[in-house]
Symmetry: C2
């Protein structure tokens, strides 16, 4: 890995949604001449939303410059919206990164760092409207690109996001080979994974609940960004 | 978690394919009144195929009786086909488990423990034919059930497997709610995730390469099982 020409830096933090992180990680690990590093504040194991922990491979301080920076989401993002060490790390990495990306509510951390201001971006559907507080243009699509910013929607959208980047970077044949290796031929036995198909009353209640839980923290972080 | 009525035991081992493990784990973590534990030989962090590690929550010795036992796959499975502590743990757990399951080549570990003999089962397409060495009936489907044995195909099929079990255990409304929460509305940008769609020459070469790499270990383990 020391001689790898490209570094992908995956940011890890407590109470992240582990599949936001692990889905794309599996795809990126198959990219040629690429090292995938797990960067966190300290080397302590990071306890995910599933109750078990992932071990960082490097601290923020020692992380290499990312070619591709990725921030996962989860409840944990909303605890870090005013966390200067995390925001400073993202800003510093973003200066040199070719692609600055997120999965799920990871876009809120990028937004709180000022890295999505004025850009089109997405997030988990249940929090998406609150992105506007940061001067971001919320877009309800599975993967959203605005220049070198690439954001994806909730959790499993990170897998599609990683395949879209694979297609861009290495072409169709390489993307297909990775897809076949991961047998990514999804066949969900139920069909309510898209908010557009969901019960409107349930959607409204969930949006309201997430707003009640998170809006104050979002608003405070947004005020710090542009007082 | 101490009062949870149901334990899901996910087996962890070095060089497992982490998405085999982490995909279903995310779905299972959303089951009501369920504790998800990560069981390994020791409490040492388990380095996955992606280069970073997952921390076990319990040793084989201290693991609770699983209601649902799940074995992920990966190259690492083929290093454990004759590993008595691992095989003994699987056999002991299988005696009391209501469901004995695997993702990807995890079925080879179940088979080596004698837990799939005479049963229909699946695995990653590139290794599937070798399951027959253990007296297992290889089936090329994404999720295969034979009584209380449920096996799934390569890597990402584990997510569909977990949703099928969710549907069984908790019904359609619950499965849909978890699906919406994980925005599991897959949209791969390429369409070669199914071996039936892949280039036959590539498929043949991959089957031959996996056989060259793994057959000797498979055959030796199968001989131990039924000398």
């Amino acid at each position: 890995m020391a001689n790898s020409s490209r570094a992908i830096v995956l940011v890890a933090f407590p109470n992240m949604t582990q599949l936001d992180f692990t889905g794309p990680a599996q795809v990126f690990a198959m990219w040629p001449e690429t090292s995938v590093v797990v960067a966190a504040k300290t080397m302590d194991p990071v306890v995910t939303d599933c109750g078990w922990a992932i071990v960082p491979t490097v601290t923020f301080e020692d992380a290499p410059q990312a070619d591709l920076l990725m921030v996962p989401g989860g409840d944990g993002t909303f605890d870090l919206l005013e966390d200067e060490p995390t925001l400073a790390f993202l800003r510093r990495q973003a200066l040199g990164a070719r692609l600055v990306t997120s999965v799920c509510t990871g876009s809120f951390l990028l937004a709180a760092a000022g890295l999505l201001t004025g850009k089109r971006a997405t997030s988990h559907w249940a929090s998406l409207p609150m992105l506007a507080e940061f001067g971001v243009i919320p877009v309800s699509e599975r993967v959203v690109r605005d220049g070198d910013r690439v954001t994806s929607a909730g959790v499993t959208s990170g897998i599609d996001f990683a395949f879209e980047l694979t297609l861009d970077e290495f072409g169709r044949e390489a993307a297909e080979a990775i897809q076949l290796s991961l047998e990514y031929d999804p066949a969900p036995p139920v069909n309510r994974g898209n908010v557009a198909l969901a019960d409107p009353a349930f959607v409204a209640a969930t949006l309201a609940a997430k707003r009640a839980d998170r809006f104050e923290r979002v608003r405070r972080a947004a005020d710090r960004l542009a007082p």
